[in-house]
Amino acid sequence: WPYCRKRCSYCNFNTYVVPAVDEAAVRACLVREARTLLRLSQLHSVSSVFFGGGTPSLASPGTVGAVLEAVAGAARLPAGAEVTLEANPSSTSTSRLAGFRAAGVNRLSIGVQSLDDAELRMLGREHTAAEARKAVEAARGLFPGRTSIDLLFGLPGQSRDAWAQRLEAALGLCDDHISLYQLTLERGTALAARVRGGALPAPPQDLLADMYQTARTALAAAGFRHYEVSNFARKGAVSTHNLSYWRAEQYIGVGPGAHGRFVPRGEGGHSREARVQTLEPVAWMREVQSQGHGTRSRVVLSPLEQLEELLALGLRTDEGVTHERWGHFSPQLSLPAVFGAPGEARALQQQGWLVLDSGGLRCTWAGLAVLDSLLPGLLCQLQR
């Protein structure tokens, strides 16, 4: 759902703030594109659905229901399949949430970001900390054990102590899943401009490293499993949908700017493609109306490129890249064949950043924090 009521100061997503949305038209296009792409992929069943954006909680439950119906009609959507909706605290009243649940949503991800009003103002969020708390409580009531909250750390001017306080507050409030993101100052955003201009301090690298470690430790102590760079879950409440990205499974992106990775067997395709839908909603709708889908670009991924993606994404998880998953993309060359011989991976193992064993290839606790320093060398080794 590519619409928001306002743009947050740090956001560089493909989202639009418009005075009015023709929901019926958008709904019809989402439904149509979902059907078209599902047919194109010839996939038999869908294991998870994720409503992202923008602010999906601004759409009506009717739209969510219509899309789910379309999906169920074009492929098998098992009763227990994970259906997540992203929501903003300012559009999550209990009655609204109940509406979404009735429409088929069974998991909620709330953009809390911070539990401090001053920080929320700096981030340009629409809600207060109190409103965020209420939203989480409401969500936990309707989606117990399946509510996730998003949190940011490393805000300009945020001290170690302030972060420790936020963490404690969040741990007191949260359900069983937390997505914890280091704030990235993206070029072109209002917040980045303020930091660049000197109005706000840029957070020092060491402080960010400390905050991350503090969080990891605190969450581990609270029983969370650190299953991806920025994602923590306890009692098994992982996000199935996101795991499919990191395991390089097939996924279909529906809606303006959505991304997909699948094999378009319906057109006679044999290879996994990287696909993006048209970014701008009006243009996207026109294309969906005339052609059934608004795919702006599709690029065939070479076997090497597929492996590179699997490597770069898989290593972000605690499970890493398993031998089976690797074998799916590289039947001839096993993980040990590529990374077991003397080379970059071996050196990184010796230095304690990486592990290659019967479970596959994965980062150590320390390695995960510096993954982007490990990847270029591993890519070189893979390319060779």
Partner: protein, 615 residues
């Protein structure tokens, strides 16, 4: 192709002239206009820097190699042959300028109507004056808003003793008054004083290499005539050749039957390397030797740099690229060199830093080669006191061009450094800052004089190494671009020199080792360490960056290890972008140099030593 008959141009109808000016004052544009007016090239909008044939010349807006063009012009009923000899405009190439001028009887001195007289205006004027050439002063860019031709005319009168009414005010860009310049060339510049009946005496003022035909030498005849079949000898190499072709340049090659005394053109005679036709050489007929033309000297390199292939597997490719590029540039000296860290390579000598940059750019553009360039050094000398070393080298004074060869203090009785006499022309408001800058560069003032109410000319004796890297930029920057600079060789002086090493986690970075004056070592070492800290990417361990003299550490910076380096979000929409960035990082990793376990970007050296990093 029809050959031209040059005998229809008697000596009295010939004018040989050059255009001299400070950088960007409009020399090449004026040349374009002259070519158009005389019909040598057709008038189109695309005539820009016609005589600058090299890509690098066109991109940088400078003339690197001299070209010539023969123009035909009818004035008051007589057909004149006007030979325009283009000259390099940059300070590094003053020797070429002087050789080109020796083929002329006059010059057009172009001065920018707003900038007025600059350092190279002065330097070039003196070259022309010493050669006793007629000088036609031309004030250019009168079309621009800030033009003040009257002020410039006064400067010219004061500094060069040329009456203001001799100045011609033009706009080369628009063509205003350019015809008047041509008429002045005919009326004010004398024809050459020479005789076609004399024995052949030809000056080589440039040469280029053509793959099919060999060396093409630009020549000016001071006596006699030359044609296909003649047997000629080079005064410098003493080698003998048979002439295959002669002709004139318009500016493309146009073969002729003969060339006669007083005329300028080209010659092809089976020479295989441009070293066989060096700038300033004299050619004469076999068995009819003549007194060689004065002023010949072998190119003297001022700046040296080591050049190594990125990878030793590229050695042969780089070797042939260098051979082909130096075919066309005999002023680059080439010595084989090798380094423990970088493998087999070369130490090249250039006329100046610009020469080196242009050469490197041509290597990249014309031969697609990327190389590792080491610190620019100047040719230091050491007077040896150790009997062992004297025996080893066979002499007691050696020239050091590679820091690795720097002999220890204990084996040396004196170190010497090359110096230059620099001329700075500046508006007086910058004098204080410039004097400070020069003092900072260990320069000694030799002269200071006001050339008009506003502008001062300063002469300083500089150690050459103090100006080769960024003096010019510093000068421009603190004078808002108004100060100008030129220099000439001024011999050697005694100096307290040391060798400074740069270490990364204890391992020396050979390409950053420099020979430096003891007084400057600490500051230079500190600056180098700081810049390296900004250039080297953070790694998974801490990096100690140190500057050392022998075992003594004189400066240090620490680059801390990465404790967190992983992108926060990586979901569907982020993946493509992430992969693109990752692949770029993987590519640049392949090009990195490994010093111990530290990865250093290949161009770290250039970024670190060249100039202030852009903030």
């Amino acid at each position: 192709q029809e050959k031209l008959d040059m005998s229809t141009y008697p000596v009295e109808s010939i004018r040989n002239f050059s255009i001299i000016a400070h950088v960007d004052h409009g020399k090449s544009t004026l040349a374009d206009r002259l070519l158009e007016i005389t019909g040598t090239i057709s008038k189109t909008d695309r005539n820009k820097q016609v005589l600058d044939k090299l890509q690098v010349e066109r991109e940088r807006g400078i003339t690197v190699k001299a070209q010539s063009a023969s123009l035909f012009y009818n004035h008051e009923g007589i057909n004149y042959l006007l030979n325009l000899i283009d000259t390099p405009g940059h300070v590094d190439f003053s020797y070429e300028v002087s050789r080109s001028l020796s083929a002329c009887q006059g010059v057009i001195l172009v001065v920018d109507a707003n900038e007025g007289i600059q350092a190279q205006t002065v330097a070039n004027f003196y070259l022309a004056f010493e050669a006793q050439l007629s000088i036609i002063p031309v004030i250019n860019k009168i079309d621009l808003k800030n033009a003040d031709p009257e002020r410039v005319e006064k400067q010219i009168e004061k500094l060069f003793d040329i009456p203001t009414d001799e100045c011609i005010r033009i706009s080369a860009k628009q063509g205003t008054n350019v015809e008047k310049v041509l008429q002045n060339v005919i009326e004010k510049i004398p024809p050459p004083q020479c005789n076609p009946a004399d024995p052949l005496k030809a000056l080589v003022f440039d040469s280029t290499f053509d793959h099919y035909r060999g060396v093409v030498a630009n020549i000016a005849l001071f006596g006699g005539e030359i044609a296909k079949g003649h047997k000629i000898v080079s005064a410098h190499t003493k080698k003998r050749y048979e002439v295959n072709e002669v002709g004139i340049l318009t500016p493309d090659e146009q073969p002729t039957h003969k060339l006669y005394a007083g005329q300028v053109g080209y010659l092809i005679a089976g020479m295989k390397e441009v070293a066989e036709a060096q700038v300033g050489d004299t050619l004469f007929l076999y068995k009819q030797p003549v007194e060689p033309l004065p002023g010949f000297k072998s190119a003297k390199p001022m700046v040296f740099a080591g050049m190594y292939p990125i990878d030793q597997t590229e050695y042969n490719n780089l070797k042939s690229a260098l051979e082909r590029l130096t075919l066309n540039d005999s002023s680059v000296t080439v010595h084989r060199d090798s380094s423990l860290a970088l493998g087999a390579g070369w130490r090249l000598g250039f006329l100046g830093l610009l020469h080196m940059e242009v050469f490197n750019q041509r290597l990249e553009q014309e031969y697609n080669m990327s190389v590792i360039l080491t610190a620019p050094t100047v040719p230091y000398k050491a007077v040896l006191s150790s009997a062992k070393l004297i025996k080893e080298y066979g002499k007691d004074q050696i020239t050091i061009i590679n820091p690795a060869q720097f002999p220890d203090k204990l084996s040396v009785s004196e170190y010497l450094e090359p110096t230059v006499l620099g001329t700075i022309v500046t508006p007086h408001e910058y004098i204080g800052k410039i004097i400070t800058l020069c003092q900072d560069r260990r320069a000694v003032q030799k002269d200071m004089l006001y050339i008009d109410e506003n502008r001062v000319m300063l002469k300083y004796l500089f150690p050459l190494n103090e100006i080769v890297v960024d003096f010019y930029d510093a000068l421009k920057s603190l004078s808002s671009g108004y100060a100008s600079f030129d220099y000439e060789d001024a011999g050697y002086q005694s100096a307290d020199l040391i060798k400074m090493d740069i270490l990364l986690n204890g391992n020396p970075v050979e390409e950053l080792a420099t020979i430096i004056h003891n007084d400057k070592a600490h500051a230079a070492g500190k600056l180098l360490c700081e810049r390296l800290k900004e250039t080297i990417p953070r790694q998974l361990f801490e990096i100690a960056i140190q500057a050392a003299i022998g075992k003594k550490i004189i400066a240090r910076e620490t680059l801390k290890a990465y404790r967190k380096n992983v992108v926060a979000k990586c979901y569907g929409g982020d993946i493509t972008r992430r992969m693109k960035l990752l692949k770029r990082q993987a590519e640049s990793k392949k090009l990195m140099r490994k010093i111990g376990n530290v990865e250093v970007p290949r161009d770290a050296f250039i970024r670190v030593l060249k100039r202030e990093p852009d903030k």
